[in-house]
């Protein structure tokens, strides 16, 4: 059954029509990826689902409930978390405080145990518990951003270019983490520049071009599709 359903949304930035009727869905337990060139509207789509932007028309439903007038601050408690483009961790707070903020909507007494869980999954963060997040390396910051999003115990985790700017070895690590989270039962909606890696890990994929979805299908099919290979895999 579909956990997230986006139905014909249109999103504008002032007069700019950024999303022109996008529809897709994410089923419980899937990894779905959204690929496309720079400026295609991938981040805009995720930000709209998370409630940071309002669609001018169309319908978004999460777990069967309409989300259109739900502000971003409320979508977290419904069970979705967005790990935004550019990480946007709180640079001036410590690693631990960032994780605490990730658990902002959860009962205070459950938060320390969840932080410990994150430290188990990301031992690099535990060593740096008291470090100011802005001084972490790029890879560490990305791990913190993912861990922070996981702190709300989301059913749907949305990741906006988690491998951006990372060395190949770290990209591999990030994708391992995505697989682990998925194995632990989290549904994942993933945006990636690295289409090869994204299609390899995903169940299904959508291709976006200038505000529209132009192709969709099982990820391994798209991975072997000639048009996709030419446009996004550099063949």
């Amino acid at each position: 059954m579909s956990l997230l359903k986006v139905d014909d949304i249109h999103v504008y930035y002032g007069a700019i029509h950024a999303i022109k009727g996008v529809s897709f869905e994410v089923n419980e337990g899937e990894i779905v990826t959204l690929i496309g060139a720079n400026g295609a509207g991938k981040s805009t789509t995720l930000n709209t689902v998370a409630g940071l932007l309002k669609p001018r028309s169309g319908l978004i439903t999460f777990d069967g409930k309409p989300l259109n007038n739900v502000p971003a601050a409320k979508t977290v408690s419904l069970g979705m978390a967005l790990c935004p483009e550019g990480r946007r961790i709180f640079q001036q707070m410590t690693v631990k405080e960032n994780l605490e903020m990730g658990g902002y909507t959860r009962p205070a007494k459950e938060v320390p145990a969840s932080i410990e869980e994150m430290f188990e999954r990301f031992p690099r963060l535990k060593e740096r518990e008291k470090q100011i997040a802005g001084t972490l390396s790029g890879g560490e910051q990305q791990m913190l951003a993912i861990a922070r999003a996981m702190m709300s115990k989301p059913r749907l985790l949305m990741l906006d270019e988690p491998s951006m700017g990372l060395a190949p070895i770290l990209v591999e690590q990030i994708f391992d983490i995505i697989k682990e989270l998925h194995a632990a039962g989290v549904t994942i909606l993933l945006i990636e520049q690295n289409a090869q890696a994204a299609l390899s890990v995903a169940d299904r994929a959508y291709v976006m071009e200038t505000g529209n979805i132009t192709m969709e299908g099982p990820a391994d099919e798209l991975l072997h599709n000639d048009d996709v290979r030419k446009a996004y895999l550099g063949d």
Partner: protein, 308 residues
């Protein structure tokens, strides 16, 4: 030597008031990213409220003071809701002009209610007369005399400095240790990311105005106990000075506002005592300009670490 010490104490007391006002500017700037130029006038309203409560309604000074805090808290929240919130997406110039408008509204409103002539502010602090430590400290006429009568500290000064210390400690704990305080720091850094955590940004901004305005009331009462003349423009000059102090310390930074306020008070008093009685302000502003030339972000301005 004693005269220097006495000047420093006077400066510390004046600086404490600046620091308390500067906290309001800096918190609002840090969170709502706007300069609330009406902040100085909230100080004046606070002073008038406690003045009226004590002299007209015969309320004990401490209750008059608490009432002023309450009224200013509500006033701050209302100003934000009605005047600034609709302008969240507007240009900063539009917000600035609105703030100046609110400032005039408050001044003219006060003039309408309390009249334009100056009022003598009542005594808020009364110390019991006493002789302590075999006469090395004597308290009389609300003044503490130390060092064989050479150093005098007024009760007002003492209360002002103590209030400032209490506020600094309480606010630092609040910002760093409580969930709400941490949410405020998040909103100040990145509103969107804070929302993604589940933080209600509107509520956080309201809370910031509430705290800033309550502090303004405290500053108003403290200011008027030390300089007991009250008129509708009473808040304007201390407001500008405290704004200067906030910039001096690094606008947006809470420790910066504290340090900036206290230093500005001390510099002003040193300037008055050792340079020229009339040039205290000019001296203080000159120091500000030099600091900003050397360090444009202010003494404790935030360095943002960014990694791609």
């Amino acid at each position: 030597m004693i005269s220097l010490l006495s000047t420093l104490l006077n400066g510390l007391s004046l600086g404490s008031v600046y620091a308390i006002i500067a906290l309001g500017y800096t918190m609002v700037y840090g969170i709502a990213k706007m300069l609330n130029f009406a902040h100085g006038d909230v100080i004046m309203i606070g002073a008038y409220i406690s003045f009226s409560a004590i002299l007209y309604w015969n309320v004990p000074p401490i209750l008059g003071f608490l009432l002023a805090m309450l009224v200013c808290t509500v006033l701050g929240i209302v100003i934000e809701r009605l005047a600034y919130k609709p302008l969240r997406q507007a240009t900063s110039l539009a917000v600035l002009i609105t703030a100046i408008g609110i400032s005039y509204l408050l001044q003219n409103g006060a003039q309408l209610i309390w009249g334009a002539n100056t009022k003598a502010f009542p005594t808020m602090v009364s110390l019991p007369n006493a002789t302590l430590f075999g006469g090395s400290i004597t308290i009389s006429n609300n003044t503490i005399s130390l060092l064989g009568d050479q150093l005098k500290i007024s009760g007002n000064m003492l209360v002002t400095i103590l209030a400032c210390v209490v506020i600094m400690v309480a606010l630092t704990l609040f910002i760093n240790k409580t969930k709400m305080g941490k949410a405020m720091r998040c909103v100040s850094e990145d509103k969107g990311a804070a929302e993604l955590m589940g933080v209600d940004v509107n509520k956080t901004i309201s809370l910031t105005f509430a705290i800033g305005s309550a502090l303004a009331a405290v500053a108003g009462v403290l200011l008027c106990t030390s300089y007991p003349v009250l008129q509708p423009t009473t808040g304007a000059m201390p407001g500008i000075k405290a704004f200067t102090a906030a910039v001096f310390g690094g606008i947006g930074s809470i420790p910066g506002a504290m340090v900036g306020g206290i230093l500005l008070g001390i510099i002003e008093k040193l300037g008055q005592t050792y340079v020229s009685d009339q040039l205290g302000d000019a001296f203080a502003f000159a120091v500000l300009i030099i600091v900003l030339l050397v360090k444009p972000t202010g003494l404790m301005g935030k360095k943002v670490h960014e990694k791609v």
